[in-house]
Amino acid sequence: MNIDEKIKAKSVDPASREMLQVAADQNIETVWERLEKQQPQCGFGELGLCCRICAMGPCRIDPFGEGAQKGACGAGADTIIARNLIRMIAGGAAAHSDHGRRPALLLKDVASGKNKNYELVDVEKLKAVAARLGIACKGRKKTAIAADIADIALNDFGKQDEETLAFVKAYAPVKRLARWQKIATDLSAATEKTIGILPRGIDREIVDIMHRTHFGVDHDPLSLIAQGVRASIGDGWGGSLIATEIQDILFGTPKIREATANLGVLSKDQVNIVVHGHEPILSEKIVEIASSKVMEKLARKHGAQGINVVGMCCTGNEVLMRHGIPIAGNELQQELAIITGAVELMSVDVQCIFPALAELCKCYHTHFVATSDQAGFPGATHIQFEETEADQCAKKIVTMAIENYDNRNHDRVYIPEITNSAMVGFSVEAILDALGGTPEPLLDAIKSGAIKGVVGIVGCNNPKVTHDFYHIELAKALIAKDILVIGTGCWAIAAAKAGLMQTETAKDAGPGLRAVCEALKIPPCLHMGSCVDCSRMLVLAGALADALGVDIDDLPLVGSAPEWLTEKAVSIGTFFVASGVPVHLWPMPPIAGGDQVMEILTKTAGEVFGGYFFVEEDPLKAADEMEKIINKKRQALGI
């Protein structure tokens, strides 16, 4: 297929390029064209200098000094930027944590027997989580243990006392917990104002942000950002971690397995169902029901060769990690999957779902099915998902997809014949398994310098960056420097599509990393899951720190969100920084208009938490900077 040069600038992914050409030929609009129509975008917004919090506004601060330097209430640039920034953190932490609430509630219902649609699949994980939380297991029924875990998790969401979250106390490394306490004490002493860092309630810290950023409350950039940090810790070590751990109990802890990625996983002669969004509770059921004999038979009755469930974004990552369900693509491919004309049904739950899909699906035979009470899509078919009737709901969705196979216009189908294989499923447990049960071999490799350090890459695609370009180039540059790359979310899908998650890719790594990968038979880029599974990276970092008797910020670790877009990414970046990991970002977040906020995030945070933000547009320069940081940490460790 001949691809226009303009399309090549949009994505480096060959399957996406083909679909973008098809879209252009059919005159179908995608996110790239819509973003183009948004140009020029507002400079005040880009710099974070616009405040819409009260009805005296919108107020804007003139970055060129000529116009207003204060909002109507007197808030300066840094107050406005800090308020806007932590509201982004609140949004991101809320999305992750509310995701975590659902499995916690489900666990409680499964434990009590109220919900018979799900089971406690991973008893080993159940016991491991219980042990972390100090719940007795001996001689107790697994349902009783599960009920205790659910109670502690749900209590962490809604408790009103001043105690730190139980999950944070149970999972964060000892030294980091003490550090956070000390930071709060020091900041309070220095400012003579109580400043908290350790989260008290997952929901409470988010509500606290909405309160203190309300008109006329907190105006001090430092105090505001500290609360942002607190809510982000409640996300990373709280809500996200609860999501990961309980989903593992309910659906199984991911194990290393082979899978395929990219749009070519869509089938020419099977019923294609795409599960898109973030939560695995329904998609698990869709996978289960679709693989039943009854449904297979029904599909054949409708002339299809079977049923092909594939994933998109993080719902996709969840079923990819646990069942090896093929993944069709990452965020910027959601429309492209529909444009193949081969999708009978796309089922969506929450987060990162373009509302444009509803209208797009009308150009094809595709059913666009929304399922969450929290997510309505004008133009979609809404099939309300209730956990207590999960089987019925999944059956309805799968049947609807099968029946829609009759309507597929085979002449209009174009599926790019592009896929790549990937080794996925690197939960912390799976990584330790691969290492022979302890983190020692990894630590030894880091100590010897075979692996210089570890970079965790996360998050999003953003059409402001050539799709997948930064994800892939950064990862390639890092592994060549003997830096192990781990990651989640849309990065992980990009890496899988690019073949970076194959054991053979070890040949592109530096000699040290290559030898380690070949010895352990693992790829140099590890898929650790969905975006809530960033908690797996925290847990891994914590395990390494505790094993060495150091704090996380002593370790040669760096984080990156190189094509970030969502508020969730802001929360993730902040909890990495709070946990002691320097974090690279691209594109520039909306903070550049405030010197004090920039200073706090790029410098002060480093002095206080050991983690800080830095921004770099060029992947190779970013990789160099990461290597520099890693070498500095190695030097300080004396390795």
Binding site: G43, L47, P63
Partner: protein, 161 residues
Amino acid sequence: MKELLIRPELCLGCRSCELACAVEHSRGKTLLSAIRENPLPQYRVHVVTDGRGFLPLQCRNCEDAPCLTACLTGALHRDARGVVTCTTELCVGCWMCIMVCPFGIITQKHEERRISKCDRCPDREEPACVNACPVGALIYAEIDDQARLQRQQVLAGLRTL
């Protein structure tokens, strides 16, 4: 010759033209670098409001420009494009042009006793302010073309002028 025209009824007062103008007259030419320059770059288009509407106003390049007549040193002159331009080195900061400008669009340069005014972006095909306007309140077009378009719009009943 193309002229810089204003459709004030379309202006939402977002001030994107002001920012784009400052960026175009900065050294780094990007928003992120421009806001950190010293001295800060200066915009030469101003969004004026009376509380009822907005007017994004910049040099109108008058034919019989009072500023040209008033300039004692010849700093202000009409360049090959027909644009009233200032040779900064010749400006002595007498403010005569500011006093006579009927639109008040000439201002003082930051921290200098010299003037700052619209140069209609000599390095660009389309002035930065026009390019930055999200709603088409600023137009760069041949007068005849624009007048024809507006006549058509009257006919089509799309606008009441």
